[in-house]
Symmetry: D3
Subunit: 243 residues, 6 copies
Amino acid sequence: MGDNIMRPAGRSAQQMRPLKLTRNYTKYAEGSVLVELGYTKVLCNATVEEGVPRFLRSHRQGWVNAEYGMLPRSTHIRITREASRGKQSGRTMEIQRLIARSLRAAVDLRKMGEFTITLDCDVIQADGGTRTASITGACVALADCLNYLVVRGKIKDNPMKCMVGAVSVGVVHGQVVCDLEYSEDSIAETDMNIVMMEDGRIIELQGTAEGDPFSQEQLIQLLAIARSSLKEIVQAQKAALEN
Amino acid sequence: MGDNIMRPAGRSAQQMRPLKLTRNYTKYAEGSVLVELGYTKVLCNATVEEGVPRFLRSHRQGWVNAEYGMLPRSTHIRITREASRGKQSGRTMEIQRLIARSLRAAVDLRKMGEFTITLDCDVIQADGGTRTASITGACVALADCLNYLVVRGKIKDNPMKCMVGAVSVGVVHGQVVCDLEYSEDSIAETDMNIVMMEDGRIIELQGTAEGDPFSQEQLIQLLAIARSSLKEIVQAQKAALEN
Amino acid sequence: MGDNIMRPAGRSAQQMRPLKLTRNYTKYAEGSVLVELGYTKVLCNATVEEGVPRFLRSHRQGWVNAEYGMLPRSTHIRITREASRGKQSGRTMEIQRLIARSLRAAVDLRKMGEFTITLDCDVIQADGGTRTASITGACVALADCLNYLVVRGKIKDNPMKCMVGAVSVGVVHGQVVCDLEYSEDSIAETDMNIVMMEDGRIIELQGTAEGDPFSQEQLIQLLAIARSSLKEIVQAQKAALEN
Amino acid sequence: MGDNIMRPAGRSAQQMRPLKLTRNYTKYAEGSVLVELGYTKVLCNATVEEGVPRFLRSHRQGWVNAEYGMLPRSTHIRITREASRGKQSGRTMEIQRLIARSLRAAVDLRKMGEFTITLDCDVIQADGGTRTASITGACVALADCLNYLVVRGKIKDNPMKCMVGAVSVGVVHGQVVCDLEYSEDSIAETDMNIVMMEDGRIIELQGTAEGDPFSQEQLIQLLAIARSSLKEIVQAQKAALEN
Amino acid sequence: MGDNIMRPAGRSAQQMRPLKLTRNYTKYAEGSVLVELGYTKVLCNATVEEGVPRFLRSHRQGWVNAEYGMLPRSTHIRITREASRGKQSGRTMEIQRLIARSLRAAVDLRKMGEFTITLDCDVIQADGGTRTASITGACVALADCLNYLVVRGKIKDNPMKCMVGAVSVGVVHGQVVCDLEYSEDSIAETDMNIVMMEDGRIIELQGTAEGDPFSQEQLIQLLAIARSSLKEIVQAQKAALEN
Amino acid sequence: MGDNIMRPAGRSAQQMRPLKLTRNYTKYAEGSVLVELGYTKVLCNATVEEGVPRFLRSHRQGWVNAEYGMLPRSTHIRITREASRGKQSGRTMEIQRLIARSLRAAVDLRKMGEFTITLDCDVIQADGGTRTASITGACVALADCLNYLVVRGKIKDNPMKCMVGAVSVGVVHGQVVCDLEYSEDSIAETDMNIVMMEDGRIIELQGTAEGDPFSQEQLIQLLAIARSSLKEIVQAQKAALEN
């Protein structure tokens, strides 16, 4: 495992791309965060609406949902607009389900009141890691949105349990690295998305051996590098929320 | 017709909102312009692809197409994502047809080679005038995209005939005003979108009497105010392209 | 502007094709009008239903809606049936929105009671001007339908404000002409659909420069010729209603 | 089985409604027939196109297809437009498959050349028997369309084998009757659609016991009454073609 | 009509393939029957739900519905999965409507209470006769499902009027045969599906002359052979229910 | 972590449900396996077709695809048929993508020739673990299908690299258990699907903390229990293939 292999832009294996979180990016949403991770840019808007989906009626709890989309030219080659094609791809559905599950883990839904918060994660520019950046940014938008409800007296206590961040890690040329950009992602032997709580416990783990299968040893290295990135991510989330 | 009625933000009847055109807003598109008109923000990306639609095969010409979308929370109240609903609304289709027709008027398609340029206009934030802002911004993105083709030797001469700009005008409380923002748009007696060439000739004219019908006299006033706004718009387009 | 250029069928520039309005064309609809404009034939059926769309509940008003369709072989070349293709084209949506807006302008919705009237405009044979003929015919069907409600005591006073007619005008070979048939429409430099009230005030104005842009001078000529046609149209509508 | 029960409009059990076939009803289709059966009115347009569906390529034969639709207000109560609902109903699909199979039986496809003829049957007004009227009318439109090909030298000999007609028969109040109108159809114990060749042999037989099951004896009575109606129908078809 | 022509597997003209009905095939459905007819295998599951479709509200009766599907590789050549194609074929719709109508004839809906029973007929392996096998199997599943309601006291008396069975018959090489397998079905001159009550009366009759039209004489032979098969079918249904 | 908590049916934490693999379950598919895992039953059919998807043309390799579906009444409560709803759910898409990726890892696509193998996994009865059972069964069907190609001389050497098996593991009441059945799955704190090669290396890892997040320590326990189950699974796959 060659630590000396050069990554794009000269990053070291455990070095994330610059992460920037801009709150109040648009003016209507109850939480609006532009997350930038290197060249990857995702706009995460939180919308709160009264009521919950049908299957939760009379459960006296709230709900958190997510939708994900890519602008047609957020990528090197233009992708067909899902709205004109008439359906969302399997990849899109998979990602928005992941984002929603991850953020529900951050909230005590029973203390949230009968509100539904929808997190729209729209990719402006994609250079790898859009789903993990979406989770990281949406968590801040969610915090703002919940605070909006508290400030207006709609819910008593903030039901946010903790920050939730996500990072992609992988094995590239046999080397365990964090925060893969597109040029790495497309050649990675293993590609793994990890969603963690502040304390390092795992919410979601999705690893795929695109090339060679991976061993338990490699998995533990991947988790270690993810845990270290997560610290930076949570720090950035908290710093953004304090501004 | 009371010129002394106060418009939002203290604008005069013939005063446009600040217009800002940012080129190269994203890095993959062959033309990428963020257009801001007051709080309205639209990202206009131009993509060039080889070949033309089937109905133009063997016509030895190019084609310009457009797609339009609104991010779900670009508006006060979240709108359903068209991709998840499985179809585009009539309004969306109407707008993207308007954008495409307007921009085809700016280009000599016969000198463009067998390329198709698609203009994706995605509304980040909507405060009235998204379709006209889209045309104004997309025209600059189209210019960049055509220049990209010329620079790479794909086409010999730039087939752009002139700048094309668009503005919304209307009758609000009996007063003819230009560049309506959302709070004006929603109460306007007449709402009109005008697309013009640099020289003031008209490409598209779409006027709707939402409240009272309008007279020919009012139409001429509306055209006059549009023509004056158009001068500013073309100036801004040219200034942006010179940077 | 060459007035001496021959139009198809020897019409003069300001001469409309023969217009025929046949009421009670089918027997179930509350208003049923076949409109024939030269070879263009559109069946306009008005249906009244109790209740209004969700967004109007508790507004104590009525609503007027429209749908438009072309029979697959109403045209020279068979077009795909939209029902089998699974969606309506952008053109269809654009037209039915135009028809609906135009007819809503003819009615005082607040005096209409909580009824929804749907105008189905189905093109039996198309030779240019189907959308304007639809509006002209649907207005008569709407009048019959409102009268049906008055006669049955469902509403007290007839809420129809005035007749609304529509005509297409354009610039063909540099000449301003009215009521374009298909062979003219397909080569027109400018194509404009105008919807007017009886008194000549404008409800909708949709002009497109397919070839060359048009000047304000031409616009005024187009309006003049439209206004003159409108007189004939309203006369025909009134004559039909008096039979 | 009471022959003395009065049918609507005083018809006898074996009496069809007046049948009228108007050829060249629209001007573009290669065959265009308006069929009127009492109040039921269906426009049957035949379109010929070069080529055959993929599954027939290199089979050196032709194909006959059919599509069926009802105008939204062809019925007592407005039905949703299938184009706007985004799909055709099971009933629609069932009917258009029946029409197509029936008409393919009228033609020697191997002598037809590689052409596809599509029969569009659009119901203008429905009062029972729309599917059988469609077959009866479409057969005449098909004959015109095949003749069009022969006259233009596209095919040598007319591949039409014979006329094909269809009639609905049924058991109403225990009485076997032919050509049910809507008020009978909706209460019939048995409803049967029969498609026959000129010589009385059967192409399609679709019988449904909506209320009570039917016996073989009743079936034979139903066939007898159908056969007698068919004679009238074929006579009318031939008379129409001779004009 | 050559009775001496050999059928596949040496069957005689009036000999059905072995019929096997396995009850309780899956464990959740209120009625679950695997029907095997030679190589044709269909799983028929009955589901009971409270309430009835909207159009029956306040009619104080029950409803029976059916859905039909083929597993993609139930056939020689894989067929596209309808779920991924986004719509059901016309054939599927036609079949599920036939199954539903046939089974509604077996039940006194007015004595069934406000329940809806859905019969899902899913073809595991297809070798001809899947729609008739579905009806035969679904009838047993329906009986189990109704019994389930009686046993639990949800309805007082079993509303089943009688067994309903179905068989396909046809003319192959001029010979009238019953229970066509795929290799016969694909070359049959006439193909007929007959649904009968125990007493031989007919519920549904759908005959199609794929090749040559058929005469009344042939129809009577087809009915005779169907009636004889039906006796075996009902016997098998009753035997299965007695186990 | 209480090893003494009783699991349903008295299973121990590391005890799988009985696994049964039946080959040649249907007669048309090139590989057809019914996999039964306790009450969970999935039919896995492999279909081979010539050619590859468009994006692989001229790559001189093969492709493996998968589709997944649940029969409507494979579950306690009937689920809507995706074919009639008109689209596949996000869950379905996610699962079929997982199955396909997992099985592609079992094959050297470059040695497979330009064939596409589609694995249809249709759930007959669901009691938890349908996606992992699908992978386990589909791997055997894939082996049969590849052998079919080798035997017919379509490909020279069998491109199967090794068996691939899958198992679900989880944390239930704080205890790490393998092969969750539905009653456990629905209350699990953590639910993890693991796809492994014969040698224990990981192909896919998808862990979700439905309730509490999980620690690295728990993850290692989950992997251990999965690895032990995998041995049994591969043994069963090999035994099935040897019969």
